[in-house]
């Protein structure tokens, strides 16, 4: 037998293309080693090592991104990995996410008697998996990356094993996640089978490759197996990003999960899901746009409404964040529909929105991590009473974060929404835009209600009011200088991106 044929495959395995991911994994493995070799009193440096390593990687990846020519894209690993400017940008995104989750982890773990190093290890691996997921161009890599991060998330959600809420959330996430993985897989198998069928036009021998699949689907758009497979894949992804009606698990899991994990889920998992959906819908499923545009438009509208209406009477802040995350998924999905409708700027708008969402969410979650008590899952809005009086700095971060999420100028979230809405408008999705606007207005109620709780109890200048000088309900962890630095970076990012978008916009819109 002649093994030469397999050399062709092996030669395209250019590992250096994945240097960031590999470095992350090595860092993760390094943590394991450090845990073993370091003396007990030096182990506290492990989180710092993880964060510092990621920061170094962030810097390196940014340099690479800046120096990257505009039209660079390449296929590696037998066309299983497609590297585009988008993937380079998303690397930055996930690295940022990883850094902030690690930072939140240090805050969270400081109060709890839980294993520490493992958290950072899993976060690093999951971050790497995110990066590979958004670069995947083949269902096998796609699935393995997806499962790697999903299993990582099962563990992370249930990480607080002393809390039954965390475990319950983990179990729910696991069952529903496994269930949706099965559906996703069934979709993949249908697509694989039908696209590889040698009797159908446009078939290919490597039918799980996205390019081949795209060729096939454009030639067989009405094949029920194609439709069924695509729908099932979409359902699997819909679960990941939490759009109606697959949003139903979101608040439960977000509530039970440790706060850093909630942030990780809300930001990075959602972002990865959206990039994947864009990759799929804009790639293999492009031939099905006629079917998916109305479907996704309806789903997006419902998601926006649900995500904004459900948290109105919600008092648990983690559930509020979860549901508001559903609303943001709705806006983003509307942006995805805009891409399908041919809006040129929608793609960049979504990624820009994701960045603003990252900054805003992490600012809020950072505050939540500081406020969170022994029982992480019961963090009520009432805990924020008198918050601003006792923690002005955290309160500022809270306001900036919530304001950015609500899309209030001059914060980053507003610019994100603006570009997204312009994209939606230009795509001609007027009804969807109307719903989105309505959603934004409704969202003011709960975001502002939270701010109100934090701020409005405290002072009065004697115009009819009385000074309300109550003590705070809960004990808030004071930020250390490093924590303050991280929060400061987030707040600065929110403010700066609200005023000046120069560099990021250039990268986003001229490279994609």
């Amino acid at each position: 037998m002649n093994l030469e044929v397999f050399k062709v495959f092996a030669e395209s395995n250019i590992w250096s293309a994945l240097w960031v991911e590999i470095a992350l994994v090595l860092l993760a493995l390094g943590l394991l080693v450090l845990e073993l070799v370091l003396p007990a009193n030096a182990k506290r440096t492990i989180p710092s090592v993880a964060i510092a390593g990621q920061i170094i990687l962030l810097v390196l990846a940014s340099i690479q991104l800046i120096q990257m020519p505009d039209d660079c894209s390449g296929m590696y690993f037998s066309q299983m990995i497609l590297q585009t400017p988008q993937s380079a940008i998303m690397r930055i995104f996930f690295l940022l996410g990883g850094i902030f989750v690690s930072y939140l982890g240090t805050v969270y773990l400081a109060r709890r008697e839980l294993p520490k190093m493992e958290f950072f290890h899993i976060v690093l691996v999951v971050t790497a998996a995110f990066m590979i997921l958004v670069q995947s161009h083949h269902f096998v890599v796609f699935f393995v990356a997806l499962e790697t991060l999903t299993i990582g998330f099962y563990v992370l959600v249930a990480y607080c094993r002393t809390s039954s809420a965390s475990l319950e959330a983990g179990l729910k996430f696991l069952i529903l996640g496994g269930f949706s993985s099965a559906m996703l897989l069934f979709g993949i198998v249908l697509l694989y089978g039908v696209a590889g069928n040698p009797l159908l036009p446009g078939y290919s021998t490597d039918s799980m490759n996205f390019s081949n699949l795209a060729t096939f689907i454009t030639q067989n758009p009405t094949n029920p197996l194609v439709l069924g497979g695509a729908v099932l894949v979409l359902v699997g992804m819909a679960f990941k990003i939490g759009v109606v009606p697959f949003q139903i698990w979101v608040p439960d899991v977000y509530q039970g999960a440790p706060t850093p994990v909630t942030a990780f889920l809300a930001v990075c998992s959602k972002a990865a899901g959206f990039i994947v959906i864009i990759n799929l819908l804009n790639g293999p499923f492009l031939g099905l746009s006629d079917v998916f545009i109305p479907l996704l438009a309806v789903v997006a509208g419902l998601t926006i409404l649900f995500g904004n209406i459900a948290p109105l009477s919600q008092r648990n802040v983690k559930r509020v964040m979860g549901l508001s995350g559903v609303a943001h998924a709705g806006y983003l999905l509307a942006g995805v529909v805009a891409i399908l409708c041919g809006s040129a700027i929608a793609h960049g708008a979504i990624i820009f929105y994701l960045f603003t969402y990252l900054l805003g969410s992490f600012a809020v979650f950072a505050v939540m991590a500081h406020v969170s008590q022994k029982e992480d899952e019961i963090q009520e809005i009432d805990h924020y009473e008198n918050f601003a009086k006792h923690n002005p700095f955290l309160a500022l971060a809270l306001v900036c974060g919530l304001g950015s999420l609500a899309g209030i100028p001059p914060l980053a979230g507003f610019i994100g929404k603006l570009i997204l809405f312009i994209a939606i408008f230009k795509a001609g999705l007027y009804t969807l835009l109307g719903i989105a606007i309505l959603g934004v207005v409704i969202s003011i109620y709960y975001y502002f209600g939270w701010i109100r709780e934090a701020f409005f109890h405290i002072y009065a200048i004697g115009e009819r009011g009385t000074t309300d000088d109550r003590e705070q309900l809960v004990d808030v962890l004071k930020p250390t200088p490093m924590h303050a630095l991280a929060i400061g970076v987030l707040v600065t990012g929110i403010l700066v991106l609200g005023f000046y978008q120069g560099g990021l916009i250039d990268r986003l819109f001229y490279m994609l």
Binding site: V5, I46, E113, I132, G193, N223, P224
Partner: protein, 160 residues
């Protein structure tokens, strides 16, 4: 296994169906996968299940039968899912039957990724074309392992 009440019985039936699937694999000339199926699923996974079932003490499991509403919902679901599934296959021209070729044992030069029966072929593809996912699987297992340790190991309050 779906209708039975006892989880041990359920697990037994599960093993049965897994073995059945392995049989089908054999019929489809995927001998290596059939073996893998038996070893990993029936051998490892199901043993784990049974172990946990025993560990968690079957007695606790309630003997209540599902309510009428549940049964009705189940019927409707089966009906709807069946309907959807039938819709997938009701137009045979959309999934024509390919001519079934007798598989080679080893991959050929012209069609390296054609279906073959030999175990080596799996090795070749895993270490060349599917090198990356294969490596990632290792990572996945590592994460799962660490996760299980995190969830199960009794930690003393000293680390980090």
């Amino acid at each position: 296994m779906v209708v039975g009440r006892n989880p041990v019985n359920g697990a037994m039936f599960m093993i049965l169906s897994l073995v059945g699937v392995a049989g089908l694999f054999v019929l489809l000339n995927a001998f290596f996968l059939a073996v893998l199926q038996i070893l990993v699923y029936a051998g490892a996974v199901m043993v784990l299940f049974l172990f946990i079932v025993m560990l968690l003490d079957v007695d606790v499991v309630s003997k209540r039968s599902p309510g009428n509403l549940t049964i009705a919902a189940g019927t409707v679901s089966v009906f709807l899912l069946g309907l959807g599934f039938v819709a997938l296959l009701d137009r045979p021209q959309m999934l024509p039957e390919p001519t079934l070729l007798a598989p080679e044992r080893l991959p050929s030069l012209e069609t390296p990724m054609a279906f073959v029966t030999g175990i080596q072929a799996y090795g070749y593809s895993l270490f060349t074309k599917y090198m990356l996912p294969f490596q990632m699987t290792g990572l996945l297992l590592l994460v799962a392992m660490i996760g299980i340790i995190v969830l199960s190991k009794r930690f003393e309050n000293k680390s980090v």
